[in-house]
């Protein structure tokens, strides 16, 4: 399973996918749906904590201002981050870092895209369930459980699919080749791209919220941040 991934880790990752997908909306949003959290947890389970942080940070930066207003269905970035961690851990030994990480992020993005129609189906199912609730009686807990089960199963199956896809790609080896010798600064480049998108989203939002005083706060903090980073690098052994 998963081209060398232990069965226990695979099961834990599937359960994590279900938990994060349910937490996105249905289970109250306690923070496990943030891609950064989901990615780090997946990295721990997959014994690849560095990849967990990078994948989580990338999806988190791109989705820094999600606005699920008025019932809008947004792609599920938390399961995307988990899937990316799995793909990266599975493929890196075969393809090398330069190809594994972009491929992993691409697969995660595809899974996030697939989550939108899946969520639409779950909501339609919720509407059917509502029709069966008897008038004059309190809403049964089963109606809430059904609403939780849909996203949970979607997240669980998405992660299982990522494990199977990673295993298949690794076993059949279509990606093996000269890639493993390629050394490219792919992680800083990917994070720089995501950071530029995050900065742009915050900038667009700042046009609505912030006045000139806010820019002064921002610039002062930026200078303080740069100075602290300089001091940190000087003091660090």
């Amino acid at each position: 399973m998963g081209g060398g991934m232990e069965v226990g880790a695979a099961i834990l990752l599937c359960l994590l996918g279900g938990l994060c997908a349910a937490d996105t909306r249905a289970a109250g949003g306690r923070g496990f749906h943030f891609p950064l959290v989901a990615g780090v947890l997946a990295g721990w389970i997959a014994r690849d904590p560095a990849a967990g942080l990078v994948c989580g940070a990338w999806f988190q930066l791109v989705w820094i201002l999600p606005m699920p207003v008025g019932g809008t269905i947004l792609p599920d970035a938390s399961t995307a981050a988990i899937a990316a961690v799995i793909m990266r851990a599975t493929l890196a030994p075969v393809t090398g870092e330069a190809l594994a990480l972009p491929l992993a992020l691409a697969l995660g993005t595809a899974l996030a895209a697939a989550s939108v129609p899946a969520e639409r189906v779950a909501r339609r199912w919720n509407a059917r369930k509502e029709a069966s609730i008897a008038a004059g009686r309190p809403v049964p807990a089963s109606a809430v459980c059904v609403g939780l089960a849909g996203p949970f199963l979607r997240g669980l199956l998405s992660v299982a699919l990522a494990i199977a896809a990673g295993g298949a790609l690794r076993e059949t080896g279509p990606l093996a080749g000269p890639w493993v010798h390629l050394r490219a600064p792919v992680i800083p480049a990917l994070l720089a791209g995501a950071a530029a998108v995050a900065a742009t989203q915050l900038l667009v939002r700042a046009r609505l919220e912030a006045g000139r005083a806010m820019w002064a706060w921002f610039l002062a903090a930026a200078l303080a941040g740069a100075a602290s980073r300089l001091v940190w690098s000087t003091l660090r052994p």
Partner: protein
């Protein structure tokens, strides 16, 4: 007042579990209230889930019959204010705190994010439930300029501070690691990205395409600069 605030808080967490396009959050809402289901006459319930506590507390105090009136007067306000405070401020603040934590503490980034987000979000939920249970005056006072909107102004400042810190720390890190040219390319990309995203912020696929494009531009810059291809790793 029938239910204790923390019971309403716990049941209110599942407000969106039965979400569907026609009735929105009404299944979770009536489940949290433990009120009889009104059948076909069930009103549409649609608010930001964090601030829906005002409606939950109010309906808990006066009975579910007040929900249609609440819908006409206050649900739109709760939606607009809650989306602004929770989605546009609290969440990015937690994310930036997490990323800053990650820069210094590695994987503790996740813990930092959870520790910033959860207490603040749960406080907002509990505060809104208590105000709702206290009645009209408390709700009106909380939603007036001196209440939550004032907290919003504080949160904007915190967001500006954290965004500045993150930009400064990350930017200086890139310069120290010899990737200053890539940093310049990424920074230069923000202007054209802004021109595109100003009107299309909702398109996440556009965001992904733009992120990939900027990443590729930075990667090419890296390759062209001194840190470019080394000619391959020996197996």
């Amino acid at each position: 007042m029938k239910a204790r605030p923390h019971i309403l808080l716990l049941r209110g967490l599942f407000l969106e579990s039965g979400f569907h396009p026609a009735g929105k959050q009404r299944v979770g809402f009536f489940w949290a209230l433990r009120e009889p289901w009104p059948g076909r006459d069930a009103p549409v319930v649609n608010a930001n889930p964090t601030l829906a506590g005002y409606a939950l507390g109010w309906a808990d105090r006066a009975g579910a019959r007040v929900v249609p009136g609440f819908h006409a007067s206050l649900f739109p306000v709760l939606g607009a204010l809650g989306d602004r405070i929770v989605y546009a401020m609290l969440r990015p603040i937690a994310v930036l705190a997490g990323l800053l934590g990650g820069a210094f503490l590695g994987n503790a980034a996740a813990l930092v994010l959870l520790l910033v987000y959860n207490p603040a979000e749960l406080y907002l939920r509990l505060r809104s439930i208590r105000a709702g249970q206290a009645g009209d005056a408390a709700v009106a006072s909380d939603l007036s300029r001196g209440g939550l909107p004032r907290s919003g102004r504080v949160l904007v400042r915190v967001l500006a501070l954290l965004a500045g810190l993150a930009a400064g720390i990350w930017g200086m890190g890139e310069v120290l690691d010899g990737r200053g040219l890539g940093l310049l390319v990424a920074a230069a990309c923000v202007l054209p990205l802004h021109a595109v995203l100003r009107r299309r912020t909702g398109s996440v696929w556009l965001l992904l395409a733009l992120g990939t494009g900027v990443g590729l531009a930075v990667l090419v810059t890296h390759w062209l600069s001194a840190t470019g291809p080394t000619g391959g790793d020996k197996p």
